[in-house]
């Protein structure tokens, strides 16, 4: 096509098409540029919100992965811990380690004699510090009889003070830590006895009323058992239902009705599934509440529509020529599905299932109805142990008044987001792996 400007046509001559086209060209390109800019702006806006979200959560939460400890020389004398000298775990466990810690603390501040002041001094360390020392001694009985410098878990207020979340210059009545305590902490800091160490408690312990002793392991295991069972139940049922509806069911008013209802179920607010679970699974079938079992059943019902819809789309996208090819060599309908159609539809089905699982992992509303909101300290070890799940744990911690729970809430969100990210990554990788064979 000739794009060079042509001489203006004589007024009586008809206008050439190319002139009309050229005249409108500028306007068309301008419209395209505007549209592109709008699109880029939308993407930038979306990304900036994501960045904002992550920065906020990470900046609030990363400090929870470190925890303040106080180094104290503990006199683990054999007479106190193991008077009989048998080194039996039962004897070792029964010893009063809290007293040992208190003795060590008193040694650091020999001037203090008043009972009230001593009680305030003892509050420097966590109420669970003795239990942690006990675990250490049980794991390492050779410590008995020596006076090792052990790192003792500090109280959450001290932790906040050391992390700078409590302003030391503020008026004494405006902060939770008194001048006296700050003096003690400063003295210990000057001796190099205060340090922030990696917070293994957060990852290995169940929840607790004391922030410094609270961990996400219980919620994590609860989520793990719930999701595992949800996947085991919903994937086969969902794929089976999709296969039947898409490939075998007669197309009539009943299947239309079923299809409409499945689509409706996918849009039902999740708390409704919680009510259903409460009424049917707990009320009628008597399944113990607060357990991964009942949670998984509710989650299965909730994720089934998602998986069925995704699986049907995946089945629809398998070219009919493959079905004809299989039928043409004499494969039965079932063989056609299982040998040829399912393997091709599997990546799409897996993606749907993982997206459904990711939704189930982040869901809290229906679980509140079936008792997953209970305060459960023990780490569940099966499908019928009382448990809670990550999002509910986050909800519970967010509700707690202690300052130290703020960073734990954010840290738990980081862990939850990390798992969601991993699951979505798995969906992408699985899809890519299986699609290569296509």
């Amino acid at each position: 096509m000739n794009n060079t400007p042509s001489p203006p046509p004589a007024s009586d001559a008809p206008r050439r098409t190319i002139d009309i086209v050229n005249a409108s060209l500028k306007r068309r390109y301008a419209r395209e540029r505007r549209f592109r800019r709008l699109g880029a702006f939308a993407v930038a806006l979306g990304l900036s919100f994501v960045v904002l979200l992550f920065t906020d959560i990470v900046s609030k939460g990363y400090t929870a992965f470190a925890q303040t400890y106080i180094q104290l020389p503990l006199n683990l004398s054999a007479e106190v811990i193991d008077p009989s000298g048998s080194r039996e775990p039962a004897t070792l466990a029964a010893a009063n380690y809290t007293k040992l810690i208190r003795d060590a603390l008193r040694q650091q501040f020999p001037d203090l004699t008043e009972r009230q002041a001593l009680r305030r001094l003892y509050a420097l360390v966590s109420v669970g510090a003795g239990d942690l020392v006990r675990e250490q001694v049980l794991a390492e009985p050779a410590l008995i009889g020596t006076t090792p410098e052990l790192w003792v878990l500090a109280d959450d207020d001290i932790d906040m003070l050391v992390k700078g979340n409590i302003d030391r210059t503020a008026a004494p009545e405006d902060r939770r830590v008194s001048d006296e305590t700050i003096g003690w902490v400063t003295q210990l800091e000057q001796q190099g006895r205060v340090a922030k160490r990696f917070n293994t408690i957060f990852l290995t312990h169940g929840t607790s009323r004391e922030p410094e002793l609270a961990g996400i392991a219980g919620a994590l295991m609860g989520s793990f058992y719930t999701l595992l069972l949800t996947l085991l139940l919903s994937f086969p049922i969902g794929v089976g239902a999709a296969l039947y509806l898409e490939e075998f069911a007669p197309k009539n008013r009943w299947t239309d009705l079923i299809e409409v209802n499945i689509n409706n179920l996918a849009a039902v607010p999740s708390i409704v599934f919680g009510l259903l679970g409460l009424a049917v699974f707990i009320g009628f079938f008597g399944i113990p509440r607060s357990t991964p079992l009942v949670a998984a059943l509710v989650m299965t019902i909730m994720t089934l529509p998602t998986i069925i819809i995704a699986s049907r789309v995946a089945l629809k996208s398998v070219p009919p020529s493959i079905r004809e090819a299989a039928l043409g060599v004499g494969a039965s309908a079932l063989q056609t599905q299982f040998h040829h159609v399912l393997p091709l539809a599997l990546p799409g089905m897996l993606t749907g299932a993982i997206i459904g699982m990711a939704r189930a992992l982040g869901e809290s509303a229906p679980l509140l109805m079936i008792g997953m909101i209970a305060f459960i300290v023990d780490i569940p070890s099966g499908f019928t142990d009382s448990a809670t799940v990550l999002p509910v744990q986050i909800f519970l911690w967010a509700d707690s008044p202690e300052r130290a729970f703020v960073e734990r809430t954010s840290a738990a969100i980081i862990v939850l987001l990390a798992f969601l990210f991993l699951m979505n990554l798995a969906a992408v990788l699985l899809r890519r792996k299986f699609e290569r064979r296509w």
């Binding site: 493959i322 090819a325 060599v329 494969a331 064979r437």
Partner: protein, 287 residues
């Protein structure tokens, strides 16, 4: 009789195709639709899609060791007819077949007859090459495996090789049997599909425009192959190319809007068509 037909045809040449359809309801087939040694015998076959009749009262035989080609303009029902010969139409909702279609004297639309073994006896090659997204070996071995035609791996290997040999593909693929069948060229894929079909030793092979997606060289190879396959199988082929029909088939059937207009020896049909519609079509006046 012939004068009335001619008069009707003259009138029809100025009609639209829709009017043609209604005016031409029960047209008699010109020519002899029987074969000397029939394998498949079709009598008075009607095929309906819901309320629409796609095939009207068609009778046609497919004989032993012969290639029958079916030609006709788009939408004339030739593919529909072909697909009703191995009950491939069963997969289409609302599709009904009436009349009699027999394979070696056995009624294939009998309620007691299982379409699964039928499709092993009446194989099919499709318009677009549709190898399974598996290895070349697996493509050919799939049919024998599900039917349990071989007892061990060695026999299966042999059968795969023999099938690929017959399809003229062995020399090209013997070094890469484990590579995906979808990685072959279009013509090779179609021959792979033919190898897959003959691996289950069918009695009749149906081919639905097997060369329409192939270039002339690949087409020539497949046509040669069809001619060789005739030694062992009965073949029905639907084609848009009249040259192809003339080259590969012994008998030709001309379909028009669901009617079988004319059937006969291929060279007769192309040199001396009896029916006006056939003549118009093969001389390129429409279609």
């Amino acid at each position: 009789m012939s004068t009335t037909v001619e008069a009707m045809d003259k009138a029809m040449s100025v009609m639209t195709s829709a009017e043609l359809a209604s005016a031409q309801h029960s047209r008699e087939t010109v020519g002899d639709f029987t074969a000397a040694e029939p394998r498949m015998v079709c009598r008075n076959v009607d095929v309906w899609y819901g309320n629409k009749q796609a095939i009207k009262n068609v009778s046609l035989d497919i004989g032993k060791n012969e290639v029958v080609s079916m030609i006709g303009p788009s939408g004339c029902g030739k593919s529909t007819f072909l697909r009703s010969l191995n009950r491939m139409n069963d997969t289409i909702v609302d599709c009904r077949v009436t009349g009699s279609i027999q394979l070696d004297g056995e009624e294939i639309y009998d309620k007691k007859l299982d379409p699964v073994p039928l499709r092993a006896r009446v194989g099919m090659v499709f318009q677009k090459p549709n190898p399974f997204p598996k290895s070349i070996y697996e493509n050919v071995a799939y049919g024998p495996r599900i039917h349990g035609l071989t007892n061990n791996k060695a026999e299966l290997d042999e059968l795969v090789e023999a099938s690929l040999q017959k399809a003229g593909l062995w020399k090209e693929v013997k070094e890469r049997l484990d590579q995906p069948g979808t990685g072959l060229s279009g013509g090779q894929q179609q021959r792979l599909c033919i190898a897959r079909t003959i691996a289950v030793s069918p009695e009749v092979i149906l081919m639905d425009e097997p060369c329409s997606a192939l270039d002339p060289i690949a087409t020539a190879i497949v046509e040669e192959l069809i001619d060789e396959l005739r030694q062992n199988y009965s073949i029905a082929i639907v084609t848009h190319s009249m040259q192809q029909a003339a080259r590969v088939s012994q008998r030709t059937a001309y379909f028009h809007l669901g009617d079988l207009i004319e059937v006969g020896e291929t060279n007769h049909i192309f040199t001396n068509p009896q029916h006006k519609l056939t003549e118009d079509y093969i001389t390129g006046r429409f279609g």
